[in-house]
């Protein structure tokens, strides 16, 4: 099979995206659908702009702050485990944004899964890629792949090992397949060596992968390292 273009080839290092002048079929379709929807009054350009603004404001930093606060404030942790959507408001994340009833796809049923010395959670959506966007931003590409979705529910320890996470057999691994309207976030355990750290210091080691459950936070680990596919025409931040 010949490849003219190679998303998903794997292989690690990707050359920088070439300067592409021609417009792709998906770009054409996207423009056509958006323009037609606006011309027919299904939504306005202002609706699109407002939602885009919201979409550009979300990201995993909110989740990191949430975890750091839960680590340092036991009363907050209790509230978080009882009603995560309500607790999110305390750090300025309102799941009702940007429409007043939440996003159409994320609903308002967040549940936080607390890890313990004998229990480790890891999240997948085998059916699509349900993900707590208002709290963690857009899902990573690997989370959307059929590979992760096929294998995690059946061979979780193998998949986690490929992420570099090997847990002893005594630790129960609990896979959460997020297949309906609940959204999930893992509350990992606070690692040793972080005594007396500020919330800000703690938040820096709570990366997105830790909140999905494919990595554990530890001092010095402040980024999730994966090969990155370059975009042909990346999002232009406004």
């Amino acid at each position: 099979m010949s490849h003219t273009h190679s998303p998903g080839d794997g292989g690690g290092d990707h050359p920088a995206a070439p300067m592409v002048e021609e417009i792709t079929d998906f770009e054409v379709l996207e423009i056509a659908v958006r323009e037609l929807a606006i011309e027919h009054g299904l939504f306005t350009a202002e609706d699109h702009r407002r939602f885009t603004e919201w979409a550009e404001s979300i990201g995993p930093a909110a989740g990191s702050r949430l975890v750091a606060k839960a680590w340092t404030d036991p009363a907050f942790k209790k509230r978080l485990l009882e009603d995560a959507v309500k607790a999110c408001k305390e750090i300025g994340i309102d799941w009702a944004e940007p429409t007043g009833f939440g996003t159409p796809s994320d609903y308002m049923n967040l549940r936080v899964l607390e890890d313990t010395p004998t229990l480790h959670h890891v999240i997948v959506c085998t059916l699509c890629s349900c993900y707590p966007r208002p709290l963690l931003g857009m899902s990573p590409e690997w989370y959307r792949t059929t590979n992760y979705r096929r294998r995690l529910v059946r061979w979780p320890r193998q998949v986690l090992a490929e992420f570099g996470l090997i847990l002893p057999p005594e630790v129960e691994i609990r896979v959460e397949d997020s297949n309906q309207k609940c959204r999930f976030m893992v509350l990992p355990m606070r690692p040793e060596g972080t005594e007396n750290w500020t919330e800000e210091q703690l938040a820096a080691i709570v990366t997105r992968d830790c909140m999905i459950g494919v990595a554990l936070p530890r001092p010095g680990r402040t980024a999730d390292v994966h090969p990155v596919q370059k975009a042909r025409r990346p999002v232009q931040r406004s």
């Binding site: 085998t126 529910v153 059946r154 129960e172 691994i173 997020s178 297949n179 309906q180 609940c182």
Partner: protein
């Protein structure tokens, strides 16, 4: 006309929940036609109700924009060994959500 739906959380409780936390349930294996959110790998398997979540319409109906009867949803916990007999670790588990329609009671 399609409706601009409020979130499930704002809806009133419409029906009594049939199951409670700790109940043993089996996932039904209804025929697949056009759409489902009940995964094949949990069908026919026995698990335990871990939580009651919210009430909402069934995904098979909502996917065709029918605003049907609200049903209770549950988080069901399975032992991995009950899903995959060859699974080598005793304690590992898996949770997923299911509407009541897809669950039947198991006599213990």
């Amino acid at each position: 006309m399609p409706s601009n739906k409020p979130s499930a959380k704002n809806r009133t409780r419409a029906v009594e929940a049939r199951f409670k936390v700790g109940d043993r349930v089996r996932v039904k294996d209804l025929p697949n036609l056009f759409y489902s959110r009940t995964q094949m790998y949990v069908r026919g398997a026995v698990g335990t109700i871990a939580a009651l979540t919210y009430q909402d319409v069934l995904p098979e109906d909502e996917a065709f924009n029918r605003d049907g009867r609200l049903e209770q949803y549950y988080i069901v916990r399975f032992r991995q060994k009950d899903l995959w007999p060859e699974y080598p670790f005793e304690n590992d588990s898996l949770q997923t959500e299911s509407p009541e329609r897809w669950l039947e009671p198991v006599d213990s």
